[in-house]
Symmetry: C2
Subunit: 661 residues, 2 copies
């Protein structure tokens, strides 16, 4: 009838704890140094006063830290704590009936009504004495004294003494405290998980001699320029031997010429598979040198992990059971009927040998992690089981807690979110196809202001080797500037595929296609990195602004502000402490100059309606004196399509600016 | 590294299952015969087709029933099933990758592109043969035949044969199916849990001789009238001996006269406690006779269970540890400072003897259940621990699955909802204080169109012995009519405290108070049940309409329709199959006649915009020919403040009505 472990006297109810993902099935995400704001419904039966606390700890420690909950309205309470270390943390809630608080509250009412009696003070004295038994010696002594005084004096002044009350409240009676039924998890990553600028580059196109296959060494010579543009992650497509069987030719032709280099995503050949280096790029030592030089330049190297095999990948020979055989004995190649990809064999995750397959794939991550790589961009994770990702990410992080995983899943929304839930640190997004004010507002609201933000970290890409969006095809250089400004300021994590991006390459393979003409996926490209139309200075400027302004280092405080022109998008980001406030206005039209009025939510910016404030355009350099919510802007996308304002509050005099911020 | 029990090849993800309460912590509620509509996110990795099913069973059975899920959009699926038996049911979800469906889908694309090959048919033949191994003999034979035919003919007609396809789909390969991580509970009650009309009456006021204490026998003589008004539950305030110590006098006076009868909620005296019968009402046999006569009249008897004690309750003597002692040795009486209720001792649920206390309270329910009582109205449950209610309701239902519990908690919203979650069948609501169109719309939307509806069954009361709302005090008879029509048609469960209600008693003890003057809580009342202003015929008419129209037997399909006059509230209810459609319009103003236009959501009513339809006022008797969304209404609250229309669709001719409904 009674469960042994349950004490029916625990009277406090704890419900609706936020944040949590799928009722605690998955962890929420934070980076080291961020705050976790917890809210909870907490109440007891009857009229007794209740109190509560958030308990939290790093999973490696036994002891909980505790921070008291503050009541809001309607039985909702909140508290916050900071997570400083990487790794998994846990948090939960405790709540209890507080008889001392109840007694003081009721005594105040009695005193007001003049209905207090002797016994009311004696009850308090007993409660204070009980608290003294929970307190360490010095406080214990003071509380015993107080209890005695109360019994003697029986007066209001003693009963409500604030200093002594504060001491009692340090030692609440938690013996009948309720504990929330779940311990909730937080995965805390290093700061780069939350703030990063990626530059994707094909080393094979980095030779300085036309027509020659580039090497890691060639690519390393570009690192200073990439760093100067302000990027901090250099991401390389697969660096493994490229398959020869059914190799693709230029422009995805099914017939390759003898000198065609094939797709780096057709992984594996007689030289090796996912742990080998493509000989034309160099040796393992060359790769190590590249990683080291990048690090020197302030760039972290990210590798592409694509779990699929060219027909001549060693696994096809060594582990034929990892691939699906067809009734005629052939191996099932990748397909999306009627399209066929004969140069790629997918892995069969329904193989009875799945445990060995999982271990084999895990060993790929561990191999490169052992080489110092700590960021993996995972190709098409949505075509492998979610359970595999949950397992492999946890396994890799167990050995290398600082590894970051970027999910390259451009698929249906719930699949993308599930990948983030099972552990991917960052995720590609639909940003590439969201161009209008309504689209951008709705999408980034979903990503940053709904529960999605607890598990899904957007990484916004205006282009990739697979995606040359129509907006860039049609809009040319102004469109590239618009999309870069949006990616870099809407999302704390973003990336470009360069140098195609800064050189504004925008010719599609054919009308209606998002594939590049002469895509680097199938051939070597040579470029003039110093072309006069290059956006490298513009990009460098924006990346510099990003670095200098901590408001742009996170997404949770993104907020959209109305404008009266649908071609003008206005949004702000601030730090938690409001010491850094950024307002961005972007002209979304690559063709025309636009002007209009923005309607700022001044509260969200920490600005008072009565006083003028300065907005300083960190991109264009201009300074504007604004007042109130409604302010005028004008932007020409052919010169500079965006303002990135830093808000400087408290203009003291017009002659002598005196900023507090 | 690998958990033994986990098969990594289960590739389907099951998320966001609805309905569920607090992630399955609590059961959803249904009555026997109702439908459970389940929705779920279900998807797999990659491009393979998936399928799924809802599994459900009565907890007493081992075998699951299964009903297939239908895909909606965005990876959402749905299915429904009916619960026919009372008691707990369970449901969960299963999903799997369906290689046969995948094969047929892909083959169709290949055929369209003309890219099919021999091996494509052979793959299908293997899948059909595999299905034959899961099928019983007759189907197995047909599938083997089909597989052979496919291997011989290699043609589209054989591969896509619809009859044979339907057979295969009966035997999906579920060996790698995923099962949702939770089994969700449904508490299924008998139909009265979902549809009931309560009449609260004080037997002590039922004597036909002025000044004499009424008895069960007196009260039984009123039963035919109560039944004639259309009620089906007769609810009695506590029937136990009334305490003598600190007994309250008339109008809640702290000094009782010798002949004062005291509050029935001050339970217990030397004659006994919660299991005894108040001698002035009669004997246990008299009580039994009352229950039997009520049953004969079509009325079920509900008892009031108030877990609190008069100072002379036997428990105070026999179980002093169930009460809280104060430092001076006295027992703590009930308080809400500065108010004191010296005639009532609350139970101390923090007593170390809590297990015995819980058992003692449980035995009260079991005692009266053994006497045939199956409905308990529980007084102030929010002043006893939620954990106690969860336990005691489950315990009582284990022995008496048909017992219903009504929660009389007028307190903060989250406490009221928690009581419903832990097991109360029905709950009192804020209806008593919701008078305006905005208030009623917002509140009943929350109760019937949000997840609240899964666990909280409103029971709407326009008055109670404790609550004489201002609206009734000021508005008089028209106000009583308005509030009755609202309670009886907004909520499938409702009740009145009579005969105070139908006699329109509305004098408060003092201005600003919601207490009745000469409240029956403290004295005996005599009344003329046949007063000419009695609403008994009006109430009878509405209760008759309720019974005849199944649309009014549930709350989930309540829908509000806009009107252009804020004094006119319009809403509809329909059955699931749309065979019964009720539209109600109420004039909320007890003072003035109001007219205006209602804007019906015709889709919600199953009415076509192009054809006229008849609305038949079941209350006033009028018939109106309406067409389209916008229709005129006019209501005088002094004659009849409400229309209760039955919508009759498909008027064939104006001369010769031919209704389908």
């Amino acid at each position: 009838m009674f469960m042994e472990s349950v004490d029916g006297r625990r009277r406090v109810v704890i419900e609706a704890v936020e944040p949590q993902v799928d009722a605690g099935r998955f962890a929420i995400k934070r980076v080291a140094g961020e705050t976790v704001q917890v809210a909870v419904d907490l109440f007891g039966d009857g009229h007794d006063a209740v109190a509560g606390a958030v308990l939290y700890r790093h999973e490696s420690r036994r002891e909980w830290s505790s921070t008291p909950l503050r009541p809001l309205v309607n039985d909702r309470w909140e508290a916050e704590f900071r997570v400083e270390e990487t790794g998994a943390h846990l948090y939960t809630i405790e709540g209890w009936v507080d008889h001392f608080l109840t007694w003081q509250r009721d005594l105040r009412k009695r005193l007001q009504a003049g209905s207090e009696t002797e016994v009311d003070f004696l009850i308090g004295a007993d409660l204070v004495e009980a608290a003294s038994l929970r307190a360490p010696s010095e406080d214990a002594a003071r509380l015993r004294e107080w209890a005695n005084a109360l019994r003697e004096r029986l007066d209001a002044a003693s009963a409500l003494d604030e200093t002594l009350t504060a001491i009692v409240l340090r030692y609440p009676d938690r013996t009948l405290a309720s504990r929330y039924e779940r311990e909730l998890r937080i995965v805390v990553d290093r700061p780069r998980a939350g703030f990063s600028a990626w530059y994707e580059i094909f080393p094979r196109s980095c030779s300085f001699t036309p027509g020659v296959h580039g090497t890691f060494a060639d690519c390393a010579r570009r690192l200073p320029e990439i760093a100067a543009m302000g990027f901090d992650v250099v991401y390389l497509p697969p660096v493994h031997p490229v398959g020869r069987l059914y190799r693709k030719g230029k422009n995805n032709s099914t017939v390759a010429q003898p000198d065609d280099v094939g797709s780096p995503w057709a992984i594996g050949a007689e030289e090796g598979g996912h742990k080998a280096i493509h000989p034309q790029l160099g040796t393992l030592d060359d790769f190590r040198a590249f990683v080291a030089e990048a690090r020197e330049a302030g760039l972290e190297t990210a590798l592409d992990i694509a779990f699929q095999c060219a027909p001549d990948h060693p696994w096809v020979r060594d582990h034929p059971q990892w691939f699906r055989a067809r009734p005629d004995g052939s191996i099932q190649y990748a397909e999306n009927p009627p399209k066929k990809y004969q140069d790629i064999y997918p892995l069969d995750f329904e193989t009875s040998d799945w445990r060995a397959l999982w271990e084999g794939l895990k060993s790929v991550f561990l191999h490169w992690a052992a080489e110092g790589v700590r960021i993996f961009r995972v190709d098409n994770p949505h075509t492998k089981p979610f359970a595999f990702w949950e397992w492999v990410i946890a396994e890799v992080k167990r050995q290398y807690p600082d590894v970051l995983f970027l999910s390259e899943a451009f698929t249906r929304p719930k699949l993308m979110y599930r990948l983030a839930k099972v552990g991917f640190t960052q995720s590609y997004t639909y940003f590439s196809w969201r161009n209008t004010k309504a689209e951008l507002t709705e999408y980034f609201h979903e990503l940053t202001a709904t529960p999605v933000r607890e598990f899904f970290r957007p990484n916004a890409w205006p282009n990739t080797p697979d995606i040359l969006p129509e907006f860039l095809q049609i809009g040319g250089r102004p469109a590239f500037m618009i999309r870069h400004a949006l990616a870099a300021t809407l999302a704390a994590n973003y990336g470009i595929y360069g140098p195609a991006f800064e050189l504004c390459e925008n010719e599609p393979r054919e009308r209606g296609s998002e594939e590049y003409l002469h895509s680097e996926k199938y051939e070597i490209r040579q470029r003039d990195w110093d072309a006069p139309w290059s956006l490298k200075d513009y990009i460098a400027r924006i990346n510099h602004i990003r670095r200098e302004n901590p408001a742009l280092h996170a997404d949770r405080r993104l907020r959209f502000h109305p404008t009266d022109n649908d071609m003008l998008l206005c949004y702000s980001k601030t730090t938690e402490d409001m010491t850094n406030v950024i307002v961005v206005v972007v002209n979304l039209d690559f063709r025309y100059r636009h002007s209009g009025w923005v309607h700022l939510d001044l509260d969200a910016l920490g600005v008072e309606a009565e006083h003028p404030f300065q907005v300083h355009d960190l991109l264009g350099g201009g300074r504007y004196l604004w007042q109130g919510s409604r302010n005028y802007v004008e932007l020409d996308s052919h010169s500079l399509p965006a303002h990135i304002f830093r808000v400087r509050r408290r203009v003291r005099t017009e002659a002598d600016f005196d900023y507090y911020l």
